[in-house]
């Protein structure tokens, strides 16, 4: 077998061998990828296909049978006011979270990459700390901090002369966005800072010689150089924010009056509180399609060349 591999590799690199050996050599990469593809198929592709199949059926978790209902679940959802509300809330939650996470991550990454900043190690550790906590712990910390009576945020607000606020009632959506940004910005920071570290110093030196300001260097050198990583970062945090709802689950449970009821919460309620697997699968299929569309939109916005730059 070892001999066969060597022969095949030789064939691949241009040696003249039999037609069989050439074909054999071409198939080796695919054979080597097969285990990974099989695992991906089993754990990534199959659930997606099965979710779509399930969305066409009326399937309750506690009842063994399933009845074909076609696209009923889809039409039912798009005529449901609560689902439409969940879509609207999700758009605001995701847009707010992603924009702020990216900008905060970018600002912190720029700060940590800048020359002459003292205490970088301390700040890097401090900034990374939230990301070491689980979503549940982060949610519980914010629940305490936002407490009307005993929360530290109201404590500081009153020290500054402001009235204590019920953040999770009057400002529920902004409050959950801020909690999500506090936790998620570290991911952007890590990705963007590592990209910034890879920018050749000569570029900055040349710009300095040409009299470029710090802002000019950031806009004309740093930002274009991290386009590919920025695209990946935006895609990843967007998809994660759409799919996750742990912080909302703990802080507001979708309320008050549906003001933080994102699509993930809606799906959880349908599938696991009401045991309606068919409806839950329909929502997860919709989320999947939205994820794919958003990825394409990002790629179009950043330009197809951005992907080629990273390849």
């Amino acid at each position: 077998m070892g001999q066969s591999l060597i022969t095949a590799i030789r064939d691949n690199t241009g040696s003249t061998r039999s037609r069989f050996s050439k074909k054999w050599a071409k198939s080796i990469p695919f054979l080597l990828m097969l285990p990974a593809l099989a695992v991906m198929g089993l754990f990534a592709l199959f659930p997606v296909i099965n979710a779509f199949r399930l969305s066409l059926y009326d399937k309750q978790l506690l009842n063994p049978g399933e009845t074909f209902v076609g696209l009923d679940h889809y039409s039912q959802l798009f005529s449901n006011g609560e689902f439409i509300n969940a879509l609207k809330v999700s758009v605001i939650y995701v847009a707010g979270s992603v924009a702020l996470q990216f900008l905060v991550g970018l600002a912190l990454a720029a700060l940590l990459s800048a020359q002459g900043v003292k205490g970088k190690r301390f700040f890097r550790t401090a900034f990374i700390l939230p990301y070491t906590l689980s979503e549940l712990v982060v949610s519980l910390i914010w629940l305490q901090m936002l407490d009307t009576e005993f929360g530290i945020i109201n404590y500081f607000a009153t020290l500054l002369g402001a009235d204590p606020q019920n953040w999770l009632f009057d400002f529920a959506l902004p409050a959950v966005i801020v909690a999500n940004v506090w936790w998620g910005s570290t991911f952007s920071l890590l990705m963007l800072e590592s990209a910034m570290q890879g920018i050749p110093k000569e570029l900055y030196e040349a710009a300095e010689v040409d009299g470029c300001t710090s802002w000019g260097k950031f806009v004309h050198i740093t930002l274009p150089s991290i386009r590919y990583v920025s695209l990946l970062n935006m895609i990843m945090i967007t998809l994660y924010t759409i799919n996750s709802f742990g912080i909302i689950f703990v802080l507001t449970a979708g309320g008050p009056l549906g003001s933080t009821d994102v699509i993930g919460m809606f799906m959880w309620r349908s599938a696991f509180q009401f045991m309606d697997l068919g409806l839950g699968a329909t929502i997860s299929t919709i989320i999947f399609v939205v994820n794919i569309l958003i990825t394409f939109v990002y790629i179009r916005l950043f330009g197809l060349n951005t992907l080629k730059e990273g390849a």
Binding site: S4, L42, L62, E149, F169, G254, P256, L257, F272, F274
Partner: protein, 451 residues
């Protein structure tokens, strides 16, 4: 060809290795496997029979005790307990998944509001099909009538209540005494007392920030339904009657209007719609409100938060059932956790025997006293030490005025509609008439029952 075979074998082994890593046995962290008690010689005389159980942490030690008692008394019929212990949030998902996969345990603990859903799906075994004598002579005679009805579905008993709790109006007895106010017995008295303690000069005296607090929305989830349903019952309203949805009635509207008026009259705040399940009574325990609508299970929390001794609790903490509305009768709700035996149980008779010990008067008394929760057995309540266990003895009497939440398979969806109806009216978003009408229609849609 030989090389192809070797490659294929390597590929198959690689895939199997990866897949094997994804499998594995169930976690042992919450599992107790005990062959409890019995002398060792007796235990070895017969092969022990395994009982599989899914339970919660506070209940699990009592099942272990029951197995030990059984093993001590039956040396030839030893039981090996395989008990998976979970927290409440994981309980429903674990049990539904196991039941749907045909891998239900012999018995488990479930929330009493899930019984109809599980029974309707055919997962539970009627208790009278296992031990009709016990059902007739013990279950129907010693359990409060509310549980005999509430733990039955379509006329068959499916569950045994392990403990119970009820909705109460908690109030600061010491503040009431100082102000010369009597404990509320009617809606009017409740409104009057709540408004009294929301006055600025009274608040300055006691340091509270509102009169009454209650969980009023989806955030508190099931707690909202279980604690506020008694307002409907005491108004003479209900959700279902004789196979029909009867929520859309003047009595229901009066109950919802009363809750909305607590906010409209400034006795409470519309922020109650964003309260967590235990927020209202935490506010009472920290002196921020004079009254709260809470559960009897919060007694221990109030005691811990206030740091009051038993004597101080008696002196400062008052409690009454939900006062009388239009019906002229006080009301409360009876909740709690149930033990159920599964249709696919491998040892249903043995499971029943163990449950008869766990829910028997002796262990039940130990359990309810230890956890400060009410007993669903009349004999246990009557046998309590009235000095030492005064709270349980006094509240036990309220169970004769108790109702259970609707016993229907679609309960979770019905409960959500009730929570939404209360949230939208208390917040002032939807007029009472409209909210009740919409909730009744939605409940009719999800249950398929006519109005």
């Amino acid at each position: 060809m030989q090389k192809m075979k070797v490659l294929a074998l390597v590929f198959v082994m690689a895939v199997m290795t990866i897949l094997a890593g994804c499998g594995g046995k169930s976690s042992g962290s919450g599992t107790s496997q005990n062959n409890q008690g019995g002398d060792s010689t007796a235990a070895t005389s017969a092969e022990p029979t395994e009982l599989t159980v899914i339970n919660q942490d506070r209940w699990a030690p009592y099942v272990e005790k029951a197995v030990k008692i059984w093993n001590d008394e039956h040396p030839d019929k030893q039981v090996k307990l395989n008990q998976l212990v979970l927290g409440y949030p994981q309980l429903r998902q674990k049990i539904t998944t196991a039941a749907a996969a045909g891998q239900a345990p012999d018995f488990s603990l479930i929330d009493s509001v899930w019984v109809a859903e599980f029974a309707d799906a055919g997962y539970l075994k009627p208790l009278d099909s296992i031990d009709p004598e016990w059902v007739e002579n013990d279950f129907k005679k010693d359990f409060y009538p509310v549980f005999v009805n509430g733990d039955s579905y379509e006329g068959k008993p499916y569950a045994i209540r392990s403990q119970t709790d009820m909705a109460l109006i908690w109030f600061r007895k010491d503040w009431f005494s100082q102000e010369g106010i009597q404990p509320p017995k009617t809606f009017e008295e409740l409104m009057s007392a709540s408004k009294h303690f929301s006055q600025k000069d009274v608040q300055a005296k006691y340091g509270n920030s509102q009169g009454i607090a209650f969980p009023g929305g989806l955030k508190a989830g099931e707690t909202t339904t279980s604690l506020l349903m008694p307002f409907f019952w005491s108004s003479g309203a209900d959700v279902f009657k004789d196979g029909k949805v009867v929520l859309n009635s003047p009595e229901s509207k009066a109950a919802v209007q009363f809750l909305a008026d607590l906010v409209n009259e400034k006795a409470s705040t519309k922020e109650v719609i964003a309260y967590e399940w235990d927020r209202a009574t935490k506010l009472l325990a920290t002196g921020k409100v004079a009254l709260s609508v809470g559960g009897s299970y919060e007694y221990a929390m109030i005691k811990n938060t206030t740091g009051w001794s038993d004597a101080e609790m008696k002196e400062k903490l008052g409690f009454v059932p939900i006062p009388a509305g239009g019906s002229g009768k006080v009301a409360t709700s009876a909740g709690g956790m149930d033990y159920v035996i599964y249709e696919k149980a491998k040892q249903p008779e043995l499971a029943m025997e163990i449950l008869k010990i766990v829910t028997g008067p002796e262990l039940m008394k130990e359990f309810v006293v230890d956890t400060a929760q009410n007993s669903p057995r009349i004999s246990v309540t009557e046998g309590l030490d009235k000095e030492k266990d005064w709270f349980l003895a006094e509240t036990g009497n309220f169970l004769y005025d108790a109702n259970v939440r609707p016993v229907i398979p679609e309960y979770a969806k019905v409960s959500e509609q009730i929570q939404k109806m209360i949230e939208s009216t208390v917040s002032g978003k939807t007029p009472v008439d409209q909210a009740v009408t919409e909730a009744a229609k939605a409940i009719s849609d999800v249950t398929g029952l006519p109005q």
